[in-house]
């Protein structure tokens, strides 16, 4: 029997993260309560190591290894780097938060790392099974993280909902994958693609399988009508976990969509484009309209996420290289904006005061003008108002959509973004035009958190003024 040795060099980052996560789990068990800082530092070191390993091997040619189940390419490397950076920032924001809430356990970081490993696998998956593996690793870690504050009823409820709905979605995805396997006799994405290209006659069953795959995907992305879990989970989870769920997994889900639909089922593009069109339109509509009625900041941002997913999906459905580039740019900038928005909520909160009600932002400009200004930048960016990066993200997506003659959907998208502007403006209104009410929040966060939050929001402005570099990088990923 001829055994081909897999190319271990291209999975070094994954192996490193896996090894470190296990090691941290063991080391943490041996540490006394006061020395938890070691766990934190080791986690950050892991991220740094993974970053170095990934960058070291980047720029090389695409490598498919492990019997065709794993792929290392520019897009994957690039997205992974972003995932590391975002996870690092999430850990940094979380440190003070979990300490003051009494959930300062080593498992928090370990679960975070395992979740990240799941995302890395999703990003680099080249087989249906690998995708599923990565997805489940991510989801299981996130379920546990949501329930991390276990005596909190809201959080437990959110975790339960997330778990049940997530399990159903995973089931759907798996069912769809089994259909695909049944027809194509392969789990390898490359082989599936070539099979679909050469067998046009079995479209019926393939499309049947595709529907379930898209449902699973839409659930993970949070596109309407598979968005029910999103507001509850965002709301119920500890803010530091919401921060995590709202940012990095979106990048992984984007990668999953590209791997499954673009790399694997390009031959069925007409089918999934039609489905995505429905998802996009509904997401834009429901996300933007329902967000107006929210009084909780985290819930509002959850619905705002849904509307952003609508835009993200638009880029993919254009079905051109420019569209994928635009969608990737959108995903990354969205992650940056969400990181900033939740980061500011974290920054303003303290023990016993979550600062997640919209009213908690009243008069913020009087209390801490700098933070209010940062939030203003992020809100305008989410609304897509120049000179922030949100504008370029929308511009790129709209441009690709119009390029493929889907003018009407571009018009729908911009009209709903006007609706969306209203609730972002309301946050600005609360901060700048209203008098402070009730408990003014003292900012307790450390200097590191403040610096990162500030640079995060300033980045939103800088990328808006000079988007060229990031656009060029995104194009490189789809060269």
């Amino acid at each position: 029997m001829n055994i081909v040795m897999p190319n271990f060099a291209s999975v070094l980052p994954e192996m490193f993260v896996l090894g470190m996560a296990c090691a941290i789990l063991v080391i943490d068990a041996l540490l006394s309560g006061r020395r938890k800082v070691i766990t934190y530092s080791l986690s950050q070191l892991t991220l740094l190591g993974a970053l170095i390993l990934t960058v070291m091997h980047s720029g090389e040619k695409e490598v498919v290894t492990f019997g065709g189940t794993f792929v290392r390419d520019t897009m994957g490397d690039f997205l992974k780097v972003f995932i590391y950076v975002i996870t690092a920032v999430v850990f940094l924001y979380s440190r003070d938060y979990i300490k003051s809430r009494g959930i300062d356990k080593g498992e928090y970081y370990v679960l975070g790392l395992f979740g990240m490993l799941g995302m890395m696998i999703m990003v680099s998956a080249h087989s249906l099974l690998t995708i599923y593996l990565g997805l489940e690793l991510l989801s299981l870690s996130l379920y546990a993280l949501v329930a991390f504050q276990r005596d909190n009823a809201v959080a437990s409820e959110a975790a339960m909902k997330y778990f049940v709905l997530g399990a159903i979605a995973s089931g759907m995805l798996l069912y769809g994958m089994s259909m695909l396997y049944g027809v194509t006799h392969s789990l390898d994405i490359g082989k599936i693609a070539s099979y679909i290209a050469s067998h046009q006659e079995q479209q019926m069953i393939l499309a049947f399988g595709l529907v379930f795959v898209v449902v699973g995907l839409a659930f993970k992305l949070g596109a309407v009508p598979f968005h029910m879990w999103l507001p509850d989970v965002y709301h119920g989870a500890p803010t530091s976990v919401t921060l995590y769920i709202g940012t990095a997994p979106k990048i992984a889900a984007f990668a999953m969509a590209i791997r499954l639909l673009v790399d694997g089922m390009q031959g069925l593009a007409a089918e999934w484009q039609a489905m995505f069109m429905v998802l996009a339109t509904l997401s834009l509509a429901i996300g933007n309209i329902v967000a107006i009625a929210q009084t909780n900041m985290k819930r509002m941002l959850a619905y705002s996420t849904i509307s952003h997913v609508g835009f993200l999906v638009l880029g993919i459905l254009a079905g051109t290289r420019e569209g994928y580039v635009a969608s990737m740019f959108y995903t990354i900038t969205y992650a940056i904006m969400a990181l900033g928005a939740f980061g500011i909520i974290l920054l303003l909160s303290r023990k016993g005061f979550e600062s997640d009600q919209l009213d908690d932002f009243k008069g913020l400009a009087d209390r801490s003008p700098w933070i209010a200004f940062l939030m203003l930048l992020i809100m305008f960016s989410m609304a897509g108002v120049p000179p922030t990066v949100g504008f370029y993200a929308k511009l790129m997506v709209l441009q690709t959509v119009i390029d493929v003659d889907m003018l009407w959907i571009a018009i729908v998208a911009v009209l709903f973004s006007v609706v969306g502007a209203f609730y972002y403006l309301r946050v600005v209104k609360l901060m700048y035009f209203d008098k402070p009410s009730g408990s003014g929040s003292l900012i307790e966060a450390g200097i590191d958190t403040r610096v990162i939050v500030s640079s995060n929001a300033i980045l939103v402005l800088l990328l808006g003024l000079f988007p060229g570099g990031l656009i060029a990088l995104c194009r490189l990923a789809f060269a």
Binding site: E322, F380, V385, P386, P387, F391, Y392, L395, L398, Q399, I402, D403, L407, A410, I411, V414, L415, S417, V418, A421, F422, L425, R426, V428, K429, Y432, F433, P467, G468, I471, A472, R475
Partner: protein, 511 residues
């Protein structure tokens, strides 16, 4: 003198605004005055070194910005944009002076917002790249949103959100149109461009042009504002602080008119020809109906806001009357048509400049009264001239100008547009000319009720006349109003080449 430089005119006030934010409240006024005067001085060479013999863009700067989409940092001015830039820098100086003692709440932020907005507005007038234009156009909303929301009147939140959403709604469809045009400029990404000048040359079918025209129309009509999308303006004006109203009326409304000149007319001339009746109709409705609405206002600011809409009706009328003139068979010869059409467009431009001065001055006058009695109700005043003679002199002058009295700038533009519309259709001219009656009626009636008669109540009796600062700022505007009124040649001269070039461009079908 030093070289004219557009970038400096844009970025000096922006940097100044940021410096003021850092420096804090204490020296904010002095710094703001310094930067606004500096910007004004920097903008003067734009006028003195302007070559009025050419319609080409001048003082051009072009640097690559976003390579993948061929977006350039591309600036330049012609006869349409240059006067508006100088108007912007001039009015900002006035606004800074007007806020000197009046703004007590967060003065540094107030001054910074105006300076940053000044830079952005100059950017709107000088951008020659569509994305750059759009960025400035939208970015302008942010400072104005904050100005109305923070320093405005009791109902400011409603007004400012309405203002933002209205203008945002108008501009997003323009964005779609701009992207469409970009995609039309070439088949590959490398061949495409966002240059507005390239857009001018695009051959477009009539159907395409009509859709693009309507998208532009929504954006610019909201800004101008034209009836029936004008309803944000009275709210925004009434709630805005004095400086905000001045900038809104003097500059922001002009951006709508400028948009027609830079985008709608040259990019979609055939659609403009097809739909000229619509614009002319809406303009006449604005002139007549909104004029009548102004007549019944009880609030001074609201009255001036409605009068602004009516006056801006002349601008849109003057811009689109050209098409009615072209299609009028009674005018013999192409050159005669060009001459009368040019009169309309130049009249519209003069009207924009003049309205910038007059409406700004009128809002400042109301501001002077409001600072003293904290009410804008006409009925709360009466006999103010008895206690404030110097103020009354200025207010009467500006009111006369607002009513279009010969010798003031208000007369020149309106007269040119009316003359021009005579050649198109006598009924257009007749309806437009009713403004001379209605405008005089609402303005002078307000002046009579506020300034003349017996001293109405004890509050009015205690009024103090204007001080040196207020005198100075109103005098500057009075000089401008009279100067343009008796000697409009400097403005029209600058316009000639650009107007002729535009007319030649729009006279022939594009497809």
């Amino acid at each position: 003198m030093f070289e004219a430089n557009l970038s400096l005119t844009i970025w000096i006030p922006v940097i100044g605004g940021l410096l003021i934010l850092i420096a804090g409240d204490k020296w904010s006024r002095q710094l703001a005055l310094l930067f606004s005067v500096a910007t004004f001085v920097i903008s003067i060479p734009l006028w003195t070194q302007f070559d009025s013999g050419t319609a080409a863009m001048q003082f051009v700067e072009k640097r690559p910005w976003v390579d993948t989409f061929n977006i350039y940092y591309h600036l330049g001015v012609d006869g349409f944009s240059m006067p508006l830039i100088v108007l912007t820098t001039f009015m900002t100086v006035i606004v800074v002076i007007s806020a000197w003692e009046v703004i007590k709440k967060r003065p540094a932020q107030y001054m910074a917002a105006f300076l940053i907005m000044e830079g952005i507005m100059v950017g709107v007038f000088s951008a020659l790249d569509a994305v750059l234009f759009y960025i400035f156009w939208e970015a302008m909303l942010i400072p104005m949103f904050l100005i109305i929301g923070i320093w405005g009147g009791p109902n400011r939140v409603y007004a400012t959100i309405k203002f933002f959403l209205y203008t945002f709604l108008g501009s997003v469809l323009m964005l779609v149109a701009l992207i469409y045009l970009y995609l039309k400029t070439g088949d590959t990404a490398a061949a495409r461009s966002f240059s507005i000048l390239d857009f001018h040359k695009l051959p477009l079918t009539l159907t395409e042009q009509i859709y693009i025209f309507l998208a532009f129309l929504l954006a610019f009509a909201v800004k101008v504002p034209m009836w029936p999308v004008h309803t944000w303006l009275p709210d925004a004006h009434v709630e805005a602080p004095t400086g905000g109203s001045v900038i809104l009326a003097a500059i922001m409304l002009k951006i709508g008119g400028y948009g027609f000149l830079r985008f709608s007319l040259p990019i979609t001339p055939d659609a403009s020809r097809e739909l000229d009746w619509l614009i002319i109709l809406l303009s006449l409705v604005a002139v007549v109906y909104i004029g009548l609405v102004a007549l019944v206002q009880k609030d001074m600011k609201k009255l001036i806001a409605y009068s602004s809409i009516a006056h801006m009706g002349f601008v849109t009328l003057g811009l689109f009357i050209a098409f009615a003139i072209f299609s009028n068979p009674e005018i013999a010869g192409q050159s005669a048509r060009f001459k009368t059409a040019a009169l309309g467009i130049e009249g519209a431009m003069v009207q924009m400049i003049s309205h910038g001065f007059i409406s700004g001055a009128m809002f400042l006058c109301v501001g002077v009264l409001y600072d003293r009695l904290h009410t804008r109700e006409i009925s709360a005043y009466g006999g103010v001239a008895n206690v404030m003679p110097k103020f009354a002199m200025f207010m009467v002058l500006f009111a006369m100008a607002n009513a279009g009295l010969p010798g003031t700038s208000g007369f020149v533009g309106e007269f040119m547009v009316i003359i021009s519309s005579f050649s198109a259709n006598i009924w257009y001219a007749f309806l437009a000319a009713t403004t001379l009656v209605i405008g005089a009626a609402y303005t002078l009636w307000m002046v009579r009720r506020v300034l003349y008669g017996e001293v109405a109540n004890d509050n009015v009796a205690t009024l103090k006349d204007i001080g040196t600062r207020e005198y100075f700022m109103l005098a500057l505007l009075a000089i401008a109003v009279l100067l343009v009124g008796v000697w409009p040649a400097p403005i029209t001269e600058v316009l000639h080449s650009s107007v002729n070039n535009l007319l030649q461009h729009i006279a022939v079908p594009k497809y």
